[in-house]
Assembly symmetry: C2
Homo-oligomer: 201 residues x 2
DNA sequence: CGCGACGTTGATTTGCCTCAACGATTGTGG
DNA sequence: CCACAATCGTTGAGGCAAATCAACGTCGCG
């Protein structure tokens, strides 16, 4: 049990070390603020109307964040597999009621950081201001690229792009989740996969 | 001339003060890194293939950032009016060639911060790590909401939402720019505006 | 004044959705 | 360990939201 946790924390520490260098004491302090959570497939760690308390790092497994709209349709805003963070970001940073579900797609091991602990951490170890700035900037740049793809490409082009960029993810998530991420119906995605869309030339 | 610049800097300082508290010396240092730029209508401050060197704060006027895709179609990723920042974010933070145009929609006064100056600023005054973290987090949350709107709403609903949230912007930007921001053709936006879409019930 | 940029309107087309029905696979309780 | 249900993916037919195309009005500007 202790061994397992050590491995989990080491992986996260390595991830952090890619962006900022911590002293051993700072590392120990950081780890003391974390908690490890196991979630089963289909289990939700965030759901609408509850305030999202944690920022979650995926050690193993996979998660997705999605909205259910007024027509009961699902729309996936994010996936997270090994080494990514996930949360209802708007709910987390403003500490207001969530609008999203954040759900495990497989049995998943998470490392979670509490909102208050994060604030404390940034005050105590200002390097973490830098850390969260950097990962948020990258997330923003990523999302902006995705937004541009959705504005400028057809469903088929978005599908091809995703398959090229994230072949691992496409193999691990259910097809309806991928369709709702790419902004198309499951039926249409299925047809694209099986080349059943009549093309010209 | 000096008066005019003072007003510009004071406005930006007030904006900064909403997020972090600076000493007078820090403020002076910060201002020393800035430069003021006037741009005429239709002038571009960023264009594809050039590395975007500045983060720009709009003091007065308005700007837009857009992509031209392989079909020569424009897609607007962001507007900025008074008191907002704009840049080709991906190009700026990774210091790689831009893919976007950033263009003035009116005669505009900008305050610009150079990439290297920004790095220096964060090292010299770590409060700015915090500042940029906070504004980036907000931008990210904003963009995520927009992404969800685009995934879950019809063109008409997106138009209504925008008109409710940003009535000021809709009056200041040309219609083709708004259409390309909302992800619809100019013709369709025109029809929505003039209630020329046949509705049921 | 005349040209080019911008917006409007109607006719037509199309990319993708919806609906419906049917396989395949997974999970679960008897 | 099998039966059966539920979930997930596939396929085709038909429909609709929004794009495209085309033509014209209008305004601002050189």
């Amino acid at each position: 049990m202790q061994n397992e946790h050590t491995e989990v924390y080491d992986t996260l520490k390595k991830y952090i070390a890619r962006h900022i260098q911590l002293t051993e004491e700072e590392e120990r302090y950081f780890v003391s603020l974390l908690r490890i959570t196991m979630v089963k497939k289909k289990q939700c760690i965030v759901q609408p109307d509850f305030i999202c308390r944690y920022r979650s790092y995926v050690f193993s497994g996979s998660m997705r964040a999605y909205l259910i709209d007024s027509n009961a349709q699902e729309h996936t805003i994010a996936f997270a597999i090994d080494d990514w963070w996930i949360t209802d970001y708007t709910s987390y940073i403003f500490q207001q009621p969530a609008t999203l579900f954040v759900e495990a797609l497989e049995e998943t091991v998470l490392v979670q950081l509490d909102y208050n602990a994060e604030q404390l951490l940034m005050e105590t170890v200002p390097k973490f201001e830098r850390f969260f700035r950097i990962i948020t900037q990258r997330s923003f740049a990523f999302l902006q690229q995705r937004m541009l793809s959705n504005l400028s490409m057809t469903a088929e082009q978005r599908y091809e792009l995703f398959m090229n960029k994230y072949p691992q993810i496409s193999q691990r998530v259910p097809q309806y989740a991928l369709a709702s991420y790419l902004g198309m119906s499951t039926e249409y995605l299925s047809k694209l996969r099986n080349n059943r869309i009549s093309k010209k030339s």
